[in-house]
């Protein structure tokens, strides 16, 4: 009997003795072996989560240690305050707009770039290397870079527009101030940072597609658009799914960009959940309120995810 078979059978007394000297049953042996990992996850992941949930029901402020105490009468105060806070809901709305535009536009541009790159016959290696350059920048540096690009006084964009005669006086457009240019600017910076990883994944997917399918389509007289629409795009679906999943998990790195470029301002015009919770929890040291906001955000995110997932499933069933 192999070791695996012995463990799986669980009924044999012989392997029990040989593994644990009769002290732990074979059924619990795998659990016992996994215990360090389970404990590690509990300590590192679950405990902070539960603790932050507890903190969210207290008026805890970092520099007032005595404020970390639960009082039933005041337990929901942080949540009541958040639900009545117009800036919080504005930051939720801005975050949804930011995520929607940043993720979708990044995907569309990356899809286009990957198709162009797939058709490059010479120097594709060099172009792929160049494409990776934005990945080498820390988000905070991307933030500084685009803050300078969009600076009204000495920025690249305004000076370029002025040089091209598209602007009568220097510094006329306040990119980081005016609505909706502020959101536009941080979305552009975010897209710039997102593009390399998306494009590389989609390019890899495109290059792995079977050539025979396209040859058959050629024979049938399908033009380039039809080949893309009915062959490339559907076959890339698994890659698109992976790319969008990675991006969705990674998009919060854009916090550093926003923090440097606008820090949520002016007048909360570009306030995102991340900048607002930082202001509440870190700058104002109101950990209770900040924790409550984080938990409301988590619940909203889960609710949105479930809703969109159901819609996706329903649309597939209908189709």
């Amino acid at each position: 009997m192999t070791l695996q078979a012995q463990v799986q059978s669980g009924s044999s007394a012989e392997p029990e003795q040989s593994f644990t000297d009769g002290r732990i049953s074979a059924r619990w042996f795998p659990v016992f072996m996994l215990l360090p990992a389970i404990l590690f996850i509990l300590v590192v992941l679950l405990f902070p989560l539960i603790y932050s949930l507890y903190v969210s029901f207290t008026p805890y402020e970092l520099l007032k240690p005595n404020s970390l105490k639960f009082e039933l009468a005041r337990a929901l105060r942080n949540y009541q305050r958040l639900f009545a806070d117009a800036i919080f809901w504005k930051s939720v709305g801005n975050t949804i707009v930011f995520l929607f535009l940043s993720i979708n536009l990044s995907y569309v541009i990356a899809l286009g770039l990957s198709q162009l790159l797939a058709r490059v016959t010479r120097g594709q290696g060099l172009m792929r290397t160049l494409l990776m350059v934005p990945m080498m920048f820390a988000p905070i540096l991307v933030g500084f870079q685009f803050r300078w690009f969009f600076n009204a006084n000495v920025g690249l964009v305004n000076n370029l527009l002025f040089s091209l005669g598209l602007m009568q006086e220097r510094g006329q457009i306040a990119w980081l101030v005016d609505e909706p240019l502020g959101m536009f600017s941080i979305i552009v910076a975010s897209i710039w940072m997102n593009l390399p990883v998306l494009t590389i994944i989609l390019l890899a997917g495109t290059l792995s597609l079977p050539v025979e399918t396209f040859e058959a389509a050629d024979v049938d007289g399908a033009n380039s658009w039809q080949q893309f629409r009915f062959i490339t795009f559907p076959l890339l679906a698994p890659f698109s799914y992976i790319a969008l999943t990675i991006l969705s998990l990674d998009i919060s790195r854009a916090f550093d960009i926003v923090r440097i470029m606008t820090d949520g301002g002016p007048a909360h015009r570009t306030e995102l959940i991340w900048t607002y919770v930082t202001r509440l929890a870190i700058e104002n040291t109101k950990f209770g309120l900040g924790s409550a906001m984080s938990w409301v955000t988590v619940v909203l995110a889960v609710a949105f995810t479930l809703y969109f997932f159901r819609q996706l499933v329903r649309s597939r069933v209908v189709r």
């Binding site: 970092l62 006084n153 002016p266």
Partner: protein
């Protein structure tokens, strides 16, 4: 022969000069070296970066004289050191003997600091500017020893005030002489005149975000006789004075007297507009002086003058006073310091006449009276007379106009409530009265949470 003689005279002059300098340096006194601290390791968490760190090079003198070793456990920028201190204080991990402090931040740390009254004699404390020591004292407890200070004089473009043509034009337009402004209303008239008649791209500039905007509003408000809070800590900045100041700023923004990206500007952005020569008048920290005078960096070099801060709007009546929002970097001792006495000795050394003088030579404003005298005397020999005028003016402002933000732990949370509302007023999203009323309501809620109203 004459050439050799000249060289000899020059060499003698150099030697004499060096001797005098050495003698001068000899008169400068270190402090904090009179205790045997052999075997003690003093830990320090302080502000770092750029010229902040030059001071720490002198610590080897302290180590040699006292036998102590000094371990610098953190050198971080202002924002980062504040975050570190907050976390360390809250978790009881502030296991260092000397910590960075600042008059604007001190109030939030006081529960975690040792009062310094017992570590310093009255004679030692008398060396520092009384206005700063007042700002460092809460309920009779002294919580910090100042290191260097900053305050803002009016900076103005000289060419605009020296041109007879512009002066005549101004007289024709307003019926008054064009003189360096002393009041906020004069600044308003002149700034508008310079822009509307094409003499300057912008009439004024100010930082328009974060604590910088809150501070500049606070300054204009108290200079106009207003107060952010009353004696019961109820917000009062939405009074007539506050609304008048907010409407002034909003009018400047709407009429392009200040840049279109004002609400995106912090100190460096504001300085850049003046450096380029695009701004006629502004309040600016003394710390930027060397940058503005540098021919390599700034078009404005040798083309600007300095004047005492303005008095506020006349709506404040007799309560108007000169502007002077100010602050001082400093040293404190955490309550959890393992060796507080040794930490105090190190602070005495770092704030001593000699170390303070050496730091003042980098351009920082000193906080000791004896150092003021010395650097003003030194500047008398400077090529540019403004070098000395600047120091005389700065000493006057530090001694008479120095005003910190309210000494409450809620200053930064208050600022985070206030400045977005002020930005909304500037941008025209809301009226001055409504914006200030909303900010006051939120501030009141925050102060109530903090237990100010019983």
């Amino acid at each position: 022969m004459l050439h050799k003689a000249s060289l000899l005279v020059f060499a003698l002059a150099l030697l004499l000069g060096a001797g005098l300098a050495a003698q001068d340096m000899g008169e400068l006194q270190y402090a904090g070296l009179d205790m045997d601290l052999s075997g003690i390791n003093i830990r320090m968490a302080n502000i770092g970066g750029g010229t902040y760190e030059v001071m720490y090079e002198s610590i080897s003198v302290f180590e040699e004289a006292t036998g102590a070793t000094v371990e610098i456990v953190a050198l971080l920028d202002g924002f980062a050191i504040d975050q570190k201190l907050k976390v360390d204080f809250a978790t009881g991990a502030a296991d260092y003997d000397v910590a960075w402090d600042h008059t604007s931040f001190m109030a939030q740390y006081t529960d975690f600091l040792l009062p310094l009254n017992d570590f310093f004699s009255e004679e030692e404390l008398a060396a520092f500017s009384p206005a700063i020591m007042d700002a460092a004292t809460v309920d009779g407890n002294l919580y910090l020893i100042p290191r260097h200070a900053d305050i803002s004089p009016i900076h103005y473009r000289l060419d605009l005030y020296e041109s007879e043509e512009i002066a005549a034009e101004y007289m024709a337009a307003t019926g008054e002489e064009l003189t360096v402004p002393t009041t906020l209303e004069q600044i308003d008239r002149q700034a508008r005149f310079f822009v509307e008649n094409g003499h300057s791209t912008f009439g004024y500039t100010l930082a328009g975000r974060e604590e910088a905007l809150t501070g500049r509003f606070y300054e204009m408000h108290f200079a106009s006789g207003g107060s952010l809070f009353n004696e019961n800590w109820e917000p009062t900045f939405n009074d007539d004075v506050g609304v008048a100041v907010a409407e002034l700023l909003r009018g400047w923004y709407m009429d392009s007297i200040i840049p279109v990206d004002t609400t995106d500007l912090l100190w460096d952005g504001v300085a850049a507009y003046f450096c380029n020569g695009d701004t006629a008048i502004k309040l600016e920290w003394y710390g930027w002086y060397a940058y503005f005078q540098s021919p390599d960096n700034c078009a404005i070099n040798h083309n600007f003058g300095l004047a005492r801060g303005f008095t506020g709007l006349s709506v404040g009546g007799d309560a108007v006073r000169p502007s002077g929002w100010a602050g001082a970097h400093a040293f404190s001792i955490p309550a959890t310091a393992p060796n507080p006495e040794a930490g105090a000795q190190l602070i005495k050394f770092l704030s001593s006449e000699r170390v303070a003088y050496e730091e003042a030579q980098l351009g920082y404003l000193p906080v000791r009276n004896d150092v003021w005298t010395r650097i003003i005397d030194d500047a008398a020999m400077a090529e540019n007379p403004l070098d000395r005028e600047r120091l005389v003016l700065a000493q006057l402002q530090v001694s008479e106009d120095f005003k910190t933000p309210p000494l409450i732990a809620e200053w930064i949370p208050f600022s985070n409530i206030f400045y977005p509302h002020m930005q909304a007023i500037l941008l025209g999203d809301v009226s001055a009265q409504d914006g200030l009323d909303q900010a006051a309501a939120e501030t009141r809620e925050m102060m109530a949470d903090a237990g100010y109203y019983g």
